[in-house]
């Protein structure tokens, strides 16, 4: 079983897993970073979204071999104590219902706002369209992204 050196949340981590193991399960089962969620396993729901060199990616569909040497950021490493403007906005709006999808939503929103600090309504909706919220708290997700944009911009 090969060993991989991963850069997760600014720390170097060593894991011994088969080369086809999705990053999602490396994070959850091997590194105890369970904030990144399993929803579909086929990159359709966005619950597993993390940042890879700053890009929002689906960790369920990237193997450990594909992410070695890249900087991986999970919800646990997005900020100290949940102080990223997107997390603050999520708290301000009180977005979650069940909350399960929210880490993925926050990771998608934070990567998006890094690239586009003053997005239009349509740009926000396009950016967030790939993340399913089964409780349908879409209205609050939208509002929180808008607030975060105003703080980051």
């Amino acid at each position: 079983m090969p060993t991989y050196q991963l850069k997760v949340n600014g720390t170097s981590k060593s894991v011994e897993v088969s080369e086809d193991t999705p990053l999602l399960w490396v994070l959850r089962d091997h590194l105890d970073l369970v904030g990144t969620k399993y929803g579909c396993g086929i990159a359709q729901c966005g619950a597993c979204t993390v940042h890879l060199d700053g890009e929002a990616v689906r960790s369920c569909s990237l193997t450990v071999a594909q992410v070695e040497s890249k900087a991986i950021t999970t919800i646990e490493g997005l900020s100290d104590n949940g102080t990223h403007p997107v997390q603050e906005a999520w708290k301000e709006v009180d977005v979650p219902q069940c909350g399960y999808c929210q880490a993925g939503q926050i990771m998608t929103a934070s990567a998006f706002l890094e690239k586009n600090a003053s997005p239009s309504e349509e740009e926000i909706k396009n950016a967030m369209h790939g993340n399913i919220c089964r409780c349908a708290s879409y209205q609050r997700i939208y509002k929180a992204v808008e607030i975060a944009a105003s703080k980051m911009g």
Partner: protein, 743 residues
């Protein structure tokens, strides 16, 4: 509702536990069962669940910190925040000093630890208030004794007791004295106008953990030595395991064991008929590995052979069978007023329409999973379950254990929607752990979750109404459904009581496909069928659609029929509120509106959908939703529930489609199953009726009206009437007549 502020008497026996904690402080529990006798049965078929005792606990430390245990499972409906708010209000503490913990399953001290039927707050309202008020009174009595004054001379505010001289003591100062006192037999509840916490916006108690990714959910739970299980399930409903070859799987990395499960379940099914509707009788193969991925991968390497066990069905079969039922005479009558047959014979006009809906999977975003550790001492179960008491009982039966040996902890759930009422996954986890003698986490893949589900059954309604002398003289509703029919008081919902000749008939077909409750069972489709029909009936009668509904409501004498639980006055009020807030009838000509009013889960709702034409296509732009659910405990959370319910209703009416070919679902993941997403979600504006009536359901009631509201609005926009869900499946009905597209 003057009773809610009256002095409350209850017996000494009402208390289950008042004891000093070893660590100092007071733990108070109150048997809520004795105090809670709602006069109306909940409109849900949860009779098979164990409704034993129901308790709430308050823990006050010497330093005045207050911990409140939230008794009921949290599925995203917000009770982990709102139930403790009710206790904290009457306890009279500052919310910022309250810590909330999830209570474990405790059938001796709690009752109705269920997330189902939108009933947690309705059932908990008075008992939770009394729990808080009783603790408050004991703390006051302790302080009064120390001061040598009468308790009536003392007041409280935010955890501080003050006497008439202005001296103060904190709750923490007197908590140990209070623990030694007699429990008062009478406590006074606050007047609603004096509420400081209830009715204010309180944020989700888990918000910080959610936005930072802390472990909260069943799938996040881990213990040392825990292994993972993935289960090979029948590829089609109606098939069972004949044989399997696990040679390849056993040789794969990380694989620890492969076990066949099902024998214990079959033995249980013979004893427990309640379990049979939700568990297929087939054996399954569980692959045990040291990680989730290794278990899931090795599962795919199991070579299993399956044989037919019962009927192998396809969607076309269901269509034919249900239509046959509607046209046949194998009905059970659930309500009968007057004589519909005679009324139809004497009618001036008759309207008959049929409405059709598919099966629906729940698709909780957190797939089914559960932790089990079966040892000789006890059975430890941890995970997401809406009905912990029921499942703990079933597991005791499954493993032949005494119920006292079952310890069940509830995690926050990544959605429930009814799926987690049925703990088939708890049973599987327990059987696997029992077989391998290890702590194990059973994990469903999304495909397992969607393709081996317990679905909303496919249903067809046929509604026929007669008009005589300008009035609706008869109404005949027929339901043909897979496996089970509407239950409880649903046959007595509006318009029952408003029409002289009225009949509800139901018929069902026993299918090999497992079905069960799905958010707002039956009404999630029935509301659309009936409210579409009302619009068509009003059109035929050439009367205003709102007036049509008001005319019916004004004929209802709810006091004359104990089965009629909706309140015509409250219904009329939500109708007027929705009319006012939506600007009904005053919008410009590019906005097409559709109206629905509905009652379920003890709440009254009216919704107006706005459809606009964008680039020649009708788009659902906005839903205005008026809700009367009595006192709104947490407006911030309540609005979230209401908005989510509406969008969930819109999403499933538009896109929810689930079909079978030879017993196999045609979709098993989100690439083929469409859920509503950000860009399709309409704006939702929620307005709550302000009153001082005891709270009623909110997790479900805003969902059922949404499908009807958009169907009625789309009809206004396109001139075309939608009789089948999901609407997006019939694009030809979602387009405008040619002449309008040109414009």
């Amino acid at each position: 509702m003057s009773t809610s502020i009256a002095s409350q008497k209850f017996s000494r026996r009402a208390f289950m536990r008042t004891s000093s904690l070893a660590s100092g402080g007071l733990l108070i529990g109150f048997n809520l069962f004795n105090a809670c006798k709602p006069n109306a049965a909940p409109p849900v078929d949860l009779a098979s669940l164990n409704y034993n005792d129901f308790n709430a606990f308050i823990k006050i430390a010497d330093n005045g910190a207050v911990t409140i245990f939230s008794p009921n499972p949290e599925i995203g409906q917000g009770v982990k925040t709102s139930m403790p708010m009710i206790i904290a209000e009457e306890l009279d503490v500052a919310w910022k000093n309250v810590y909330v913990e999830q209570g474990v399953l405790d059938t001796e001290n709690y009752t109705r630890q269920v997330a189902g039927g939108s009933q947690s707050i309705r059932h908990g309202w008075e008992p939770l208030r009394k729990t808080g008020a009783t603790a408050r009174q004991m703390l006051v009595n302790a302080a009064a004794a120390r001061w040598g004054v009468a308790p009536s001379e003392c007041t409280t505010s935010e955890g501080i007791i003050t006497n008439s001289k202005g001296e103060t003591l904190g709750y923490g100062d007197v908590v140990n004295d209070a623990a030694a006192l007699e429990v008062p037999e009478e406590v006074t509840l606050k007047e609603i106008k004096d509420f400081k916490i209830i009715g204010t916006d309180i944020k989700n108690v888990d918000i910080d953990k959610i936005v930072t990714g802390k472990p909260l959910y069943g799938l996040d739970y881990k213990v040392d030595g825990m292994v993972y299980a993935a289960v090979v399930r029948p590829p089609a409903f109606g098939k069972k395991l004949a044989s399997y070859d696990d040679t390849e799987a056993r040789a794969m990395p990380g694989v620890i064991d492969v076990v066949k499960i099902g024998e214990k379940v079959r033995a249980l099914l013979e004893k427990d008929q309640n379990a049979s509707s939700i568990i297929s009788g087939s054996d399954k193969v569980a692959v045990i590995a040291r990680s989730t991925w290794e278990a899931m991968k090795a599962k795919n390497a199991i070579k299993a052979e399956w044989v037919d066990d019962s009927t192998i069905e396809s969607t076309e079969d269901h269509d034919e069978i249900l239509t046959g039922f509607l046209e046949g005479n194998k009905f059970e009558t659930l309500r009968k007023d007057g004589d519909v047959k005679k009324a139809f014979a004497a009618a001036d006009q008759v309207l008959e329409r049929t409405y059709e809906s598919p099966f629906l999977p729940h698709n909780c975003l957190e797939p089914m999973n559960f932790f089990a550790n079966v040892t000789t001492e006890k059975v430890h179960l941890v995970g997401p379950i809406q009905t912990p008491a029921w499942k703990a009982g079933v597991v005791a039966g499954l493993l032949g254990r005494d119920p006292s040996e079952i310890h069940l902890e509830m995690t926050r759930m990544g959605g429930g929607f009814g799926r987690r009422l049925f703990g088939d996954f708890v049973i599987e986890a327990a059987e696997i752990s029992d077989a391998i003698k290890k702590p194990v986490k059973l994990v469903y893949s999304r495909e397992d979750d969607m393709a081996d589900g317990i679905y909303r059954p496919a249903i067809k309604y046929r509604i026929k109404a007669a008009v005589k002398d300008g009035k609706v003289s008869a109404y005949h509703l027929k339901e043909a459904a897979i496996n089970s029919n509407m239950y409880g008081l649903i046959p007595h919902f509006f318009p029952a009581g408003a029409i002289e000749n009225y009949q509800v008939d139901v018929a069902k077909y026993g299918s090999s496909i497992t079905t069960g409750a799905w958010r707002a069972p039956y009404t999630n489709f029935l509301a659309y069928a009936e409210q579409s029909f009302f619009d068509e009936l009003a059109e035929m009668m050439e009367v205003d659609k709102i007036q049509f509904r008001l005319d019916l409501l004004r004929k209802v004498d709810a006091d004359a029929d104990e089965n009629i639980q909706y309140d015509p006055k409250r219904m009329e009020d939500v109708i007027q509120l929705a009319v006012e807030k939506s600007g009904w009838g005053t919008k410009n000509e590019n906005v097409y509106q559709g109206f629905v009013n509905y009652y379920c889960h003890n709440s009254h709702v009216a919704e107006v959908a706005d459809v606009v034409i964008e680039n020649g296509t009708p788009v659902v732009k906005k839903i205005t939703c008026a809700v009367d659910c009595g006192v709104v405990v947490n407006p911030l959370g309540a609005a979230n529930q209401a908005e989510g319910g509406v969008i969930d209703g819109v999403g499933h009416a538009m896109f929810g489609d689930f079909n079978f070919k030879d017993g196999t679902p045609l979709a098993s993941n989100f690439d083929k199953y469409r859920l509503i997403r950000m860009k399709e979600a309409p704006e939702v504006e929620v307005h709550f009726v302000k009153n001082e009536l005891a709270p009623t359901g909110l997790g479900e009631p805003t969902l059922p009206p949404a499908g009807g509201a958009i169907a009625n609005a789309l009809k206004a926009a396109t001139g075309k009437r939608l009789y089948k869900q999901p609407f997006a499946k019939y694009p030809e009905l979602m387009t405008l007549p040619d002449k309008e597209i040109i414009g």
